[in-house]
């Protein structure tokens, strides 16, 4: 069975958009955010039109409906990722999820001098929270280098340092290079040799991973994973921190307020058990429902097939781009593992100008440092153009993109 792209595309209203220039939208900015199928939009509309109410402590019908939908969404999402619902903590996205980890776990389980091992490939969202923690409590940050020739993590350096690390934060799949890191090996090394053999705690920044991978969270043996709904057909303002059985009990608290409280007095309070302890305030109700609808929609597909399709488009595009004189492709797209992101640069045409001319042809690509400036520096550049594919993209789009790009370069460089 192969993906029925026509049927898939028909589910996405935005994909039929045609610009005033007459060019149809070719959306190749999926690593930034994916589009939403009508089923997701409709689920949120239905909620607002029929069931909207604040949740929990529900006595009236609407509140009961909203609570049921909200908590059932948690079950749908946690089933998808392979963990128990109470260990899926809703956040506004990957960034807040990593901050939640740093605050609710990091602050109470790490101390001055503890080594936090990150990589040079991290998105700022998996860097700045740890810089803040370093400043606040004195943990020491170390970094696994990226080899600028192979575009991969220097696993020798990882092995050399892991023994001293108490915590490892690593991007599962790079948003710039499209590479999927050897996360199984990273987890294994961390667990067997980390922290002097006692095992290091591992967080995977899975923002890009969830677009093409169900994770299998508990089976991986990882401690934390952070992700965003908007990168997998879900709404904005939504995401989660996934937490292992071992770690959930070690987490204290983060934001304080309504809904996370069991009982409050003026001078102290007791908190709810997880997940609600970590979800202060009126929750993101419509967003949770929308995310679950996205997962319901994705559930009709075999994710390996989806992943193969996305990777096929990226690999084809990368190969074509390498044929174009003056173009450098960043990242190795030959292997079997990776995502739909293809970063490239032209040697004379500025990335911003190039993006502009691609846009004039209807092609939406992202341009900039992709919130990964340390990686950019390691690669000796300050930005890339990045085309990133998703399950609704077609080979025709990939080819049209390459053709248009060639035309722009011929004309302007």
């Amino acid at each position: 069975m192969t993906l029925d792209l026509e049927a898939i595309r028909a589910d996405f209203p935005i994909l039929s958009r045609v610009f005033p220039s007459g060019h149809p939208l070719v959306y190749l900015d999926n690593a930034a955010t994916t589009q939403k199928p009508r089923q997701v939009i409709q689920a949120m509309t239905d909620y607002y039109e029929q069931h909207n109410s604040n949740v929990h402590r529900a006595v009236h019908t609407l509140a009961a409906e909203a609570t049921a939908a909200y908590e059932e969404a948690r079950i749908t999402i946690s089933d998808w990722f392979g963990l128990e619902p109470h260990r899926l903590l809703y956040t506004s996205g990957t960034t807040e999820a990593i901050n939640l980890c740093a605050h609710a776990w990091g602050r109470s389980n790490l101390e001055k001098g503890d080594v936090v091992l990150l990589t040079e490939m991290e998105h700022h969202s998996d860097l700045i929270p740890w810089q803040m923690l370093a400043k606040d409590i004195g943990v020491e940050l170390r970094f696994v280098p990226v080899d600028p020739e192979t575009y991969t993590l220097d696993m020798d350096a990882f092995e050399a340092t892991i023994g001293e690390a108490k915590f490892v934060g690593c991007v599962h799949t790079s948003n710039v290079l499209g590479v999927r890191n050897p996360v199984e090996r990273i987890i294994e090394l961390a667990k067997t040799r980390g922290n002097g053999g006692d095992g290091a705690v591992v967080l995977l920044d899975s923002a890009q991973a969830v677009a093409h991978d169900r994770l299998g969270f508990d089976a991986m043996g990882v401690d934390f994973a952070a992700c965003s709904a908007h990168k997998m057909c879900g709404p904005t303002g939504m995401g989660a921190l996934l937490v292992s059985e071992d770690r959930i009990g070690e987490m204290t608290h983060f934001l304080g307020g309504g809904d996370m409280i069991e009982e409050a007095w003026l001078d102290h309070a007791t908190y709810q058990p997880p997940p609600h302890r970590f979800e202060a305030g009126t929750p993101k109700i419509a967003e949770a429902i929308g995310w679950a609808a996205a997962i319901d929609w994705l559930s009709q597909f075999d994710m390996q097939e989806v992943s193969a399709h996305i990777l096929g488009l990226a690999r084809h595009t990368a190969a074509e781009l390498k044929q174009i004189e003056g173009i450098t492709v960043y990242g190795d797209h030959e292997g079997d593992l990776g995502s739909g992101a293809v970063s490239f640069l032209h040697d004379t045409l500025h990335s911003e100008d190039l993006a502009h001319f691609l846009d004039a042809g209807g092609f939406a690509v992202r341009t900039g440092h992709h919130c990964a400036q340390p990686l950019m520096r390691r690669l000796g550049i300050s930005a890339t153009n990045r085309a990133s594919f998703y399950l609704y993209n077609t080979m025709e789009e990939a080819d049209a993109f390459v053709t248009h790009l060639k035309g722009v370069i011929d004309r302007l460089s």
Partner: protein, 146 residues
């Protein structure tokens, strides 16, 4: 025994029959209120953290034990009448059964009272939490007894 629809303990079936004679939802609730007073209560002096059911809107307490014949006994109190009424019905349903049977007793029996529309298990959260707790205690008692 495999309790469930069409096969309820006689004492519960009696209650179900009583409810099934009444067509008005409001009247059924009035009946439930009446049942509340038939509940074998847990005296307030015995309320403590251990007996407290968490996740109830209302204050609710239960105490589970085995009688001399090793049969399950639950007593309890709640300040909301609906919860206490359901507790009374629950007593008729499960008290006197072997604890193993209580540990898997289907919560769906509340549906048979015809309160379903307005009292799905999801709605009557308090009762659901109470009954889940009772089933857990029955499991422990069954294991202790085995």
């Amino acid at each position: 025994m495999d309790w469930g629809e069409g096969n309820w303990p006689a004492s519960l079936q009696e209650v179900i029959d009583e409810f099934s004679d009444v067509f008005d939802a409001m009247e059924r609730y009035e009946m439930l209120f009446d049942f509340a007073s038939e509940c074998t209560p847990l005296p307030m002096e015995e309320w403590c953290e251990d007996t407290r059911v968490h996740g109830c809107q209302s204050e609710a307490h239960v105490l589970c034990s085995l009688d001399d014949d090793g049969r399950f006994q639950m007593i309890g109190s709640a300040d909301a009448q609906i919860v206490q009424g359901l507790m009374a019905v629950a007593q008729k349903a499960i008290n006197g059964l072997p604890p193993e049977e209580v540990s898997t007793f289907p919560v769906t029996f509340t549906r048979e009272l015809g309160l379903h529309d307005s009292l799905s298990p999801n709605r009557a959260n308090g009762f659901l939490n109470m009954f889940t707790r009772v089933r857990q205690e029955a499991r422990k008692l069954a294991q202790g007894a085995a």
